[in-house]
């Protein structure tokens, strides 16, 4: 048999109930006083009224006026609904001081409920009915509960007539024995416990005919918008795939991340205290806002003014984005409420605000409130929630020094991107290092880079690579300086040699020219001398001949 289901009006509950409360059947909400049963009823009615369905609220303890005040406080247009006949109250509070004598019949209650559901000719089965504190009816006339059987009869009548009914009852043995087993088709138990002085409320579906409902104990919270639960995303269906990368607005970071961060993705920034996790968050917030994204920055540690001041001090100015509404700081202290409530608040904020980016600084603040396993399972659901809504979630995990940079959260498998910031101790100083450990679907850099906080935001620099090792910080500066000296020396020598090379052939050429010149001169001189000598000798011969001739010889 296919069961029709109706909306609960409680965020997250429809998912757990695989659709909502059973239509045409009674559902029982059971729990100790003050655990919020009535609020589930009121939201169920408001959900109906807001859909134009007649919603009838029968009350056995609280006055209708009081319940109306509750509904108004949740922002429902109670007066309008009442004027439109969409919301009708049936006052089932006993009138004090009644005498009971002899047989009685409570069918009149069914008559009154039918009249309210069917007023104006409406079909009673089309409406919704809630009966608050039903167990009180059994004790309407005397403390021994003589009307208990009558109350059961009433429930049977409601069930037979196919009216969608939500009943609340205190958790008593009588309620358990009679109501749970015989009279209702679904049972939701609410529980509240106080742990570490913080109130935790949980909900469990212990019976639901014909529906594959969630079976765990689900935390819920109550605030000024009524009760709500963490959404169960696996029942809500499809994830939006990580869609499109967004730039972090920081070229070096983008390069490190293989292009940027995915919308709907998740990023974890882990590191010890003082390593610059928040500064990196500030840098990311500024870059993403400048990209036109809407960012919510949830801070557990510092106030908005402190944070913006600190960021401003390192050249990251977030104030324009706060002013133009792209960036919203949400401050919470971990001790404000229990872990579940924090996470439900975040999930609901993600749902109502629909930011593009949610930054949580730091998720480790929540481990104060629960053991690591609990926190992890809650974070998992928060990541799922963000993913299913296409929200980029950026989380900060503070590591203790003693943890040796090993994450305690063990969330790696849930994360798309994981950045680790480290402080490395070197001679006389610490240097900050940044490393992308994981980047699903992105061609990330696997190199460790130096991460510096400057007065113009963060700077990411390549390490000194040489001599078979990576060197950072001052050591890197010293090595780089030594290297620079060596470079200069070599460059100078090179230049000198190059100049020499330019000059040298000329010099030889000149010398050659000179030699050639000297050769010519030497040859010339030799020739001149030879000529002179020959001429002189010839002259001598000629003279001798002239003398001989003159003497008649010859």
């Amino acid at each position: 048999m296919e069961f029709q289901q109706v909306g609960t009006g409680v965020p997250g509950l429809d998912g757990i109930l695989a659709g909502g409360y059973l239509a045409a059947c009674p559902t029982l909400i059971m729990g100790q006083p003050g655990c919020g049963k009535t609020l589930f009823l009121l939201q169920f009615l408001a959900d109906g009224a807001s859909r134009g369905t007649r919603a009838v609220c029968a009350t056995c303890t609280e006055s209708p006026e009081r319940l109306q005040e509750h509904m108004k406080a949740f922002g429902h247009p109670v007066e309008q609904w009442m004027a439109d006949g969409l919301l009708v109250f049936v006052d089932l509070r006993p009138v004090p001081g009644e005498l009971v004598t002899g047989a009685l019949d409570q069918t009149v209650i069914k008559v009154r409920l039918d009249a309210a559901l069917g007023a104006g000719g409406a079909d009673p089965t089309m409406g919704r009915l809630a009966i608050d504190d039903l167990n009180r009816l059994a004790y309407a006339f005397d403390p021994s509960g003589i009307a208990a059987r009558q109350t059961l009869d009433l429930l049977r009548l409601l069930r037979d007539s196919g009216i969608t009914t939500l009943i609340s009852s205190a958790e008593t043995e009588a309620a358990r024995d009679s109501l749970v087993d015989y009279a209702v088709d679904a049972v939701i138990e609410l529980r509240q416990t106080v742990e570490r002085r913080l109130m935790t409320r949980t909900l469990r579906v212990t019976k639901m005919r014909g529906v594959q409902h969630g079976t765990n104990e689900y935390p819920f919270m109550i605030d000024d918008a009524g009760p709500s639960l963490m959404p169960v995303t696996q029942l809500e269906g499809q994830y939006h795939a990580r869609a499109g990368m967004v730039s972090t607005g920081h070229a070096r970071l983008d390069a490190l991340l293989g292009g940027g961060l995915y919308r709907g993705g998740s990023l974890m920034i882990t590191g010890t205290s003082g390593v610059g996790k928040s500064t990196l968050c500030g840098q990311l917030a500024a870059g993403l806002c400048a990209d036109g994204l809407r960012v919510v920055y949830k801070t557990f540690e510092q106030e908005e003014s402190e944070l913006t001041h600190d960021f401003h001090g390192v050249g990251i100015d977030l104030r324009p984005f706060v002013e133009n509404g792209r960036l919203r700081f949400v401050r919470a202290r971990s001790v404000d409420c229990g872990l579940e409530e924090h996470l439900i608040r975040l999930a609901r904020m993600a749902d109502t605000d629909r930011p593009d980016v949610l930054i949580i600084d730091a998720v480790t603040s929540m481990t104060d409130l629960g053991d690591v396993t609990t926190v992890k399972s809650m974070l998992l659901r928060l990541i799922d929630t963000c993913k299913s809504r296409g929200i980029l979630i950026i989380m900060v995990e503070l590591l203790w020094d003693a943890q040796d940079s090993v994450s305690q959260m063990g969330l790696s498998s849930l994360l798309d991107t994981w950045i680790r910031l480290e402080l490395q101790r070197q001679v006389g100083e610490y240097v900050r290092l940044i490393r992308v450990l994981k980047g699903r679907g992105a061609n990330i850099s696997h190199q460790i880079k130096e991460f510096r906080i400057t007065d113009q935001g963060i700077a990411i620099e390549d390490p000194y690579v040489g001599g078979g090792s990576f060197v950072f910080g001052t050591e890197k500066l010293i090595r780089e300086q030594a290297e620079r000296h060596e470079h200069t020396r070599m460059r100078t020598r090179l230049e000198r040699l190059q100049r020499e090379l330019e000059v040298l052939p000329g010099a030889f050429d000149a010398r050659l020219a000179q030699t050639r010149l000297e050769r010519e001169e030497a040859i010339e001189r030799l020739r001149d001398e030879i000529n002179d000598l020959q001429r002189a000798l010839e002259n001598v011969h000629a003279d001798a001949r002239a003398v001989s001739a003159a003497r008649g010889g010859g």
Binding site: R93, L99, A103, Q106, I109, V111, R112, F141
Partner: protein, 103 residues
């Protein structure tokens, strides 16, 4: 010695809410009438009246004047009913003892 039942105005001071016709209803009506004039209202015919009077069970007898009182059940213990209704009904009990009880 006994004072008379209160002077009956246009609508009786006593109202009896019943549901349908049954032995219990007939017994309750008969018992109620021993007290004086009674307006009998079937809640099926006038659920609005039941709503206004916040009736949780039938039969319910209501004294509607300025000393209100409510009695739930078939009114078999008329002495208790009279005592609960208070003056002047409480004075009638001693002489009138023919109340309707279970067969």
């Amino acid at each position: 010695m006994a004072t008379a039942p209160p002077p009956s105005p246009q609508t009786p001071v006593l109202r009896l809410f019943v549901l349908g016709q049954s032995e219990t209803v007939r017994r309750a009506i008969a018992n109620a009438r021993t007290l004086g004039p009674v307006e009998v209202i079937d809640v099926r015919d006038d659920p609005g009246a039941a709503e206004a009077a916040r009736i949780l069970a039938t039969p319910t007898l209501i004294r509607t004047d300025d000393t209100p009182a409510r009695i739930v059940g078939d009114l078999r213990d008329l002495d208790a009913v009279r005592a609960h209704l208070g003056p002047p009904y409480d004075a009638l009990g001693a002489e009138n003892h023919h109340h309707h009880d279970d067969p």
